[in-house]
């Protein structure tokens, strides 16, 4: 089957054969080397050599950006942004660009597999740059696979069946939820490493505490004049990097007013902080204190009575504890107070602390001081997606820990995993790996042979995102309420099957309440049933009288969205009248260094198997293909560490060995490690490459249940070994290393 799709009448030959021909054609028609297969049935609107464009949704992260994929002769060739989609307006991030490298990844699960837990899914000894790289063969057909799913539904108590799902796609989550609601199966749990590092639960909880309403705050960066970001890496991976980058661009271009100022508070200069006008390297754990101190100083500067929320903090104390000069704090406070539109954003490592909730609340309180709620350049609640009634929050780490506990306790007999790779993404300390032993049947729907699939009994691979139907709700990033639609842009490459189809078929096979819970012919019918209610909504981007036309438009435009601002204004009435603890956060471990894990902006949690993402230089360090640990050069000198020296990092939870990157923009008492590598499976390009910093993170949570991933203190020791990091930048030219003396 795969042959048919890969070998279709290639316009200009593909791959190595092309080059061979190119050389030999000098001697005449060397065409015997090339075979062309015509279409059996030419798809409508298709001409040989002309591209066809299909709108769909990017599934590299859960933001829901619209894509338009260029296809030629049945092959997807290029992913481009969907200019209609209000979320990304035709733009994409690097990961979105590389989505085709996932589609055509040489290591995909190629068919349904009954699998012995722990067995390799491909030959890992082979050269990753070579063609010969045999994958595990499919050993089941899909009828048998559906049978397996049906039986596990039927033969277990509903409460012993669990769905563990990723942040995308939403339609499958809706389907699983419908199934669970109708049959009593445990409500599906959603999780993703990005949501963990974004601390979405904390943001949500803080909003609830301050505004009395649950929801994901939206920060209108583009409209602001001064932006204070406390750890939010919104230009990298945070929530919706593409739309926040657009906001940043608007902030800087000053389209309406002056060029906006941007200040970033964090211990390690992220690539977001690199774009800031001022980078304030505060001591990790003092974010709440600093935010409150700025609030107090700003209030003083404005000449108003200090609001209750800021009253408890002593700016002198905050300055000394955070390591920021008092003058700096005062100057920042004045800047914040006197600007014509100030905005403060909490996020990233600032929330991943034991007092993360306090940080979030304190920073949101600053916005209350600036009085920007609902104003351009201020804080909003993100517009709810069209077929959504309330903000759906993914599971926090705490909830995941509870889930793991349930598994260990044997309360889960059958686990369906889709769209998430908990073995890799959850910190090892949470022991998901151990918990799998207590689950009698694990069925993975993984597209790629990831670590969780290796631990599964069955792998029933879902299509790649570009081969799939579906939709994704845009959680934040656009003013409008957006539902991004997905459709297959190519025929599936391998013998994979849409998980929704498998579940629908299995439910039909299982019969009874299962069959009645999912009374659909297939995934498309289910999707249509889900978007049908939108036809009656007003202010839509398009209208249609019947569902078929509506669905066709939905495909054509890549989703459905409203044309009006759908954001809600938070009620900040009480935000300044609460009291927030300014106490420093607590750190686990007795090491000398604060550990700041951050999500690699180019790889994120699932990019490691795409070779071009591996080869993209990290925006701050320009390292490719590996993981590093960032250490301040002064500290490194003290410890006698040169670039590429391997150090051993020990925390309460684990040990890692990583090569050193002498990073000049990090606090001397802090080290930072990117998250995204360290796979033990997941294909030839990901495996055995770098390390996973979550191995160092212990089971510490903040008040909102999010993981205190930045709440560790670690020891760093020199091992004496060296491992060269691949950098794009020149050590000589950028750092003057090896040029003799300082130049």
């Amino acid at each position: 089957m795969s042959k048919q799709f890969s070998r279709r009448d290639f316009l200009k030959l593909a791959g190595v054969g092309a080059a061979t021909t190119a050389i030999l054609t000098g001697c005449g028609p060397a065409s015997r080397l090339v075979r062309r297969e015509p279409y059996l049935q030419m798809p409508e609107y298709t001409y040989n050599g002309l591209s066809t464009y299909y709108a769909t949704t990017c599934r590299e992260c859960a933001a829901g950006c619209g894509l338009v994929v260029r296809t030629s002769q049945g092959r997807a060739i290029k992913a481009e942004g969907n200019a209609n989609n209000p979320l990304n307006l035709g733009k994409t991030c690097a990961r979105g660009q590389a989505t085709l490298q996932g589609l055509y990844n040489p290591n995909r699960v190629r068919g349904a597999i009954k699998h012995k837990r722990g067995d390799r899914l491909y030959d890992t000894a082979a050269d990753p740059f070579n063609d010969e790289f045999p994958d595990a063969a499919s050993n089941m057909d899909w009828d048998a696979a559906t049978q397996v799913v049906a039986e596990s539904l039927k033969n277990n108590k509903p409460e012993e069946i669990a769905f563990l799902m990723g942040m995308a796609p939403d339609h499958l989550f809706d389907l699983a939820t419908d199934l669970a609601n109708a049959t009593g199966i445990t409500a599906p749990v959603r999780f993703g490493a990005l949501s963990m590092f974004e601390s979405r639960a904390t943001l949500n909880k803080a909003a609830q505490n301050l505004f009395g309403q649950s929801g994901l705050p939206f920060f209108d960066v583009g409209g602001a004049q001064v932006v204070f970001s406390f750890g939010a890496n919104f230009l990298e991976t945070w929530l919706s990097p593409v739309s926040y980058t657009r906001g940043f661009s608007a902030l800087r271009e000053g389209k309406t007013k002056l060029r906006g100022t941007f200040v970033q508070f964090e211990a390690r200069m992220s690539s977001t902080a690199g774009k800031a006008d001022e980078w304030v390297a505060l001591r990790p754990g003092t974010e709440a204190m600093v935010a409150l101190a700025i609030g107090r100083l700003a209030a003083e500067s404005l000449g108003i009575t200090t609001p209750k929320v800021f009253a408890d903090v002593d700016p002198m104390d905050a300055a000394s504890k955070s390591g920021i000069k008092l003058e700096t704090l005062e100057h920042l406070a004045q800047m914040f107070a006197n600007s014509n539109g100030a905005l403060a954003i909490p996020g990233g490592a600032a929330l991943g602390q034991s007092n993360g909730l306090a940080v979030a609340e304190a920073v949101l309180a600053l916005n209350a001081l600036a009085g920007n709620f609902g104003k351009p350049g201020g804080v909003f609640f993100s517009a709810l997606a069209p077929n959504q009634t309330a903000y759906q929050q993914p599971a926090s780490a705490q909830e995941m820990a509870d889930f793991v506990q349930k598994m260990i306790d044997g309360k889960i007999k059958v686990l369906f995993v889709h769209g998430v790779n908990p073995v890799f993404e959850l910190p090892a300390a949470l022991n998901f790996m151990g918990a799998t032993k207590s689950v009698s049947q694990i069925i993975s729907f993984a597209t790629f042979p990831d670590e969780t699939a290796v631990e599964a009994d069955y792998i029933f691979p879902d299509h790649h995102g570009l081969e799939s139907w579906g939709y994704q709700r845009v959680a934040t990033g656009s003013k409008e309420s957006v539902l991004s639609g997905a459709q297959p842009v190519v025929t599936p490459f391998y013998d994979t099957r849409a998980t929704a189809d498998v579940l629908i078929a299995a439910a039909q096979l299982a019969g009874g309440k299962f069959a009645s819970a999912l009374p659909f012919k297939d995934e498309v019918e289910f999707l249509q049933s889900k978007i049908a209610p939108l036809m009656s909504e007003s202010n839509g981007f398009f209208e249609a009288a019947d569902i078929n036309t509506f669905a066709a438009f939905f495909q054509q435009y890549g989703g459905w969205w409203k044309t009006i601002d759908g954001r809600n204004v938070p009620n900040g009435a009480n935000a300044l009248n609460r009291s927030i603890s300014a106490a420093e956060s607590k750190f686990a471990g007795d090491g000398k260094f604060f550990l700041v894990p951050f999500v690699s902006p180019t790889l994120a949690e699932a990019g490691a198997n795409k070779p071009w993402l591996q080869e993209l230089p990290d925006p701050t360090t320009t390292v490719m293909w590996n993981t590093w640990v960032e250490i301040n050069p002064a500290t490194a000198d003290e410890m006698g560490l040169a670039d590429n020296d391997v150090v051993q990092i020990t925390s309460d939870a684990g040990v890692l060995e990583l090569p050193v990157y002498r990073y000049p923009a990090i606090r001397p008492d802090t080290i930072a490690i990117p998250f995204g590598q360290g796979h033990t499976a997941y294909g030839r390009y990901a495996e055995k490459r770098g390390a996973n910093p979550t191995d160092l993170i212990g089971q510490n949570y903040n008040e909102a249940g999010d993981l205190a991933f930045a709440g560790m203190k670690v020891k760093v020791e020199k091992t004496g070994r060296k491992q060269a990091l691949s950098r794009l930048e020149s050590l000589m030219g950028v750092y003057g290393v090896g040029l003799g003396e300082e130049h």
Binding site: Q97, S271, E615, T620, P664
Partner: protein, 241 residues
């Protein structure tokens, strides 16, 4: 037949296609790098080779540091790509005419099939934006399915560089011609400009004073890199800040 004396030298012309890059809003997110690689069939080279300075990026984002901790600043990200010089130093040194100045498009053209691999052009490029295929970089099946049929797949021993997505230029011109009109400003753009989430890269006709890129380029704080060498680059940078 065009006689040599009838050739208009690029130094007397203002260029045709050009680009404006705003370093102040470039976030260094690498979307342009990825987009370029996806559009132009650029090979990835693996860890060892990329670390040894053999990566094939046609566009790279440079950043330096200013000052020392804690007063340290990252310099504005500087996307560096072929500047499509009007008077390119890479061209005259090629013994095989593999890199020449396109009269029709006023671009600096690399003719892959004519390249014998002396690498003189790359040495002589003051911007160091040419990349050489040091090996036949392998793209295991089915990765080659992604190949853009409009762009030649390069093999070992060939120099390559940014083309300003000339395949898109041709496509747009072909389309405009089939519809009997001129190419409109903004009708198409390069892969990097198209992907850039911050809109830091703008591409268009610099010889058309009405185009967006011309309007932007005439802002007074634009600079061209190494202009002092007389290369007449067609990429304008805004340092910003």
């Amino acid at each position: 037949m065009i006689r040599p004396e009838e050739i208009k030298l690029s130094a007397d012309q203002s260029g045709k296609w050009g680009m404006v890059i705003d370093q102040d809003i470039c976030t260094g997110c690498q979307a342009c790098v990825a987009a370029c690689a996806m559009e132009n069939n650029i090979s990835f080279v693996g860890e060892a080779d990329s670390g040894y300075g053999r990566s094939m990026h046609w566009i790279r984002i440079e950043r330096f540091w200013e000052g020392e901790y804690p007063e340290i600043k990252m310099t504005p990200n500087q996307p560096m790509l072929c500047q499509q010089c009007g008077s390119a130093t890479c061209e005259p040194v090629c013994p095989a005419f593999a890199t020449v100045h396109s009269q029709a498009e006023q671009l600096n053209v690399q003719v892959y099939n004519r390249c014998v691999g002396t690498r003189y052009c790359a040495n002589n490029c003051p911007y160091q934006v040419r990349s050489f295929n040091w090996r036949d970089y392998k793209r295991p099946e089915p990765l080659p399915n992604q190949f853009n049929p409009d762009v030649t797949v390069r093999r070992r021993g060939i120099m390559e560089k940014c083309t300003f997505c000339i395949q898109r230029i041709h496509k747009a011109q072909d389309k405009a011609k089939s519809e009997a009109r001129e190419v409109l400003d903004g009708e198409f753009t390069t892969a990097c400009a198209q992907a850039c989430p911050a809109d830091a890269i703008v591409f268009g006709r610099v010889d058309d004073p009405e185009s967006l890129v011309s309007q932007l380029a005439h802002r007074n704080h634009g600079v061209k890199h190494l202009e002092e060498l007389g290369t007449l680059p067609n990429v304008t940078y805004f340092k910003g800040g």
